[in-house]
């Protein structure tokens, strides 16, 4: 018998699920990013600390993200567009889900690749037409997966990864947002 290893410690996740069933307060996480204006429409965002399992936590290292806009927006293009970060988040969240679900279902993955496309009518953000929304009208994710599994099993992996994806939920369902000036 070959052992399926996608590098996901599913047992730890299942144990956590069991432990948090009786300790919902430990399941309350707060993710944080802090952003700083650089110049023009260029900003940098830093992510290092978060809260979870009842205490402050720190990533192994701080990550810094540069966000700007492309030259066709008359900007300096010193980083990707903020709305592209949503695609990065969605793709990586779904990919992590595919790997985890595959591990849990005993499916060995050989490669998982995806492309994400967000259809965006920029007349919204430019205020050209008030009927056009600011955000994406539609997002399409296409997975190419090579694994020891049938087509249906692979489709089920992808469906289940959406069902359990934080970013998929954050993008498909409304979220209350409070923005304040400190």
């Amino acid at each position: 018998m070959t052992t399926v290893d996608n590098g996901v410690n599913v047992q730890a996740l299942l144990d956590a699920r069991e432990a948090l069933r009786s300790a919902p307060e430990a399941a309350q996480f707060t993710w944080r990013a802090s952003a700083k204006w650089q110049n023009g429409v260029h900003s940098t965002a830093t992510v290092e600390k978060f809260f979870g399992l009842g205490q402050e936590q720190t990533h192994k290292s701080e990550s810094v993200f540069s966000a700007d806009h492309p030259e066709v927006f008359a900007a300096a293009d010193q980083g990707i567009t903020p709305i592209e970060y949503l695609l990065v988040g969605l793709a990586s969240c779904l990919t992590a889900g595919v790997a985890s679900v595959a591990q849990n279902r005993g499916i060995q993955l050989r490669s998982v690749e995806s492309t994400v496309e967000g259809a965006h009518d920029i007349r919204g953000i430019l205020g050209v037409d008030s009927d056009v929304r600011n955000g994406y009208n539609d997002i399409k994710v296409t997975f190419n997966i090579d694994a020891d599994a049938s087509k249906e099993e692979i489709e089920a992996l992808v469906a289940q990864s959406q069902k359990r994806s934080a970013v998929y939920d954050a993008l498909t369902n409304p979220t209350n947002i409070t923005v304040e000036v400190a």
């Binding site: 249906e152 089920a156 069902k163 998929y168 498909t172 369902n173 409304p174």
Partner: protein
């Protein structure tokens, strides 16, 4: 007797199980249409027939059950009673579950417990929330009555009425799926919360899935998520809940075929056709929607049960119907002891097991 069938169901409802499968101990359907589905009146009659010769006190409302020195103290509409053992068999559908969303005041809100038929509605559009058995049945009926229905679809269980010419519940029954036991199931909590499959008992034995509803003119939207500025906001995840339901249905039908050893291809079932751009928002102040009908599930009512056996989520603590208090039992709840537990057909085996346990304790 048969109070909820008599008083708490809409007029057109029929059982989801075919007549031949709606069996009680020593009492089976012997009419001319074994493949049909009983109307509510027929269900009431069926149960009344079964009860002939059994000592039943009818018309007694139990208003309270609490602990007593050696058993339980009951308050009823006909005075107090004491009992050494009590079997809770009031069912799991006593109250309609309605999500805590605040709708504009001119929107009429109904639950399946208030609804009797489309004649109860005005002519405006109806937003039916929930696409399990209740939601799809009411959506179809209301759309056919000439009112525009929008159906908010969350996770659901899709099933064809017939598979290879036989009722899909025949397959559940015969293949052993319905016999899966509560103590052998991976995620019992999930199994007990599983919504009723998209089935309807109609004389035509036809399938009632989202494709049927779309063909009737029903508009599909995603799960009803939030009301903001008077607008209903729906999830953009409609495609995935439909994919999940399609995949699970195919997996189940394939398992039936494997059990039966059939390899010839079955009738092709089209994947759920999801509208390319399902609406994410409907302004509830524009008059398009006059009524919101919450088909968002039911739950049991234990407000009269003064024994600490209900968890914070309102679920009864029991092991296969043996409730977590001496002499207290339950019957007729989803996945109580088997997948068939919440069907009329499931009561016999469950009742025998419970009565054995109960009798051993006397």
């Amino acid at each position: 007797m048969a109070n909820s069938w008599r008083r708490e169901r809409w007029d057109s409802l029929r059982l989801l199980t075919p007549n031949w499968l709606s069996r009680l101990p020593g009492h089976a359907y012997d009419g001319p249409d074994p493949d049909g589905y009983m109307t509510m009146g027929e269900v009431v009659e069926f149960i009344e027939h079964f009860a002939q010769g059994i000592k039943v006190r009818t018309g007694v409302e139990v208003t309270s059950v609490g602990p007593a020195d050696s058993g339980y103290q009951l308050a009823t509409s006909q005075g107090p009673l004491t009992a050494r053992t009590v079997v809770l068999a009031g069912g799991a559908y006593n109250r309609a579950t309605v999500p805590p969303l605040v709708l504009p005041p001119q929107i009429r809100q109904m639950t399946p417990l208030d609804y009797r038929g489309p004649g109860d509605l005005d002519q405006a559009g109806v937003l039916v929330v929930g696409a399990s058995a209740t939601g799809v049945q009411l959506a179809a009926e209301i759309q056919r009555s000439g009112r525009q229905v929008t159906l908010a679809v969350g996770e659901h269980v899709r099933l064809p009425r017939l598979h290879r010419g036989r009722d899909v519940l025949w397959w559940m029954h015969e293949s052993g799926v319905w016999d899966e036991r509560w103590d052998r199931i991976d995620d019992l909590d999930r199994a007990r919360r599983l919504p009723s499959p998209q089935l309807a008992g109609t004389p035509e034995r036809s399938t009632l899935d989202l494709n049927t509803l779309t063909a009737l003119g029903v508009e599909l939207v995603g799960r009803f998520a939030l009301v903001r500025d008077g607008a209903a906001l729906f999830s953009g995840g409609l495609r995935n809940v439909c994919s999940l339901a399609d995949l699970k249905m195919r997996r189940l039908l394939t398992a039936f075929d494997e059990w039966a050893g059939v390899t010839a291809p079955a009738e092709e079932i089209a994947p759920t056709a999801v509208p390319p751009a399902a609406r994410l928002k409907i302004d509830l102040n524009r008059g398009e929607i006059g009524t919101v009908l919450w088909a968002t599930g039911f739950r049991p009512d234990y407000s009269w049960l003064h024994v600490p056996v209900v968890d914070p989520k309102g679920r009864l603590r029991h092991e296969g119907g043996v409730v977590d208090a001496p002499g207290l039992y339950a019957l007729g709840l989803p996945m109580l002891r088997r997948r068939r537990s919440s069907f009329i057909n499931g009561i016999e085996d469950d009742a025998r097991a419970i009565v054995d346990h109960l009798a051993a304790g006397l």
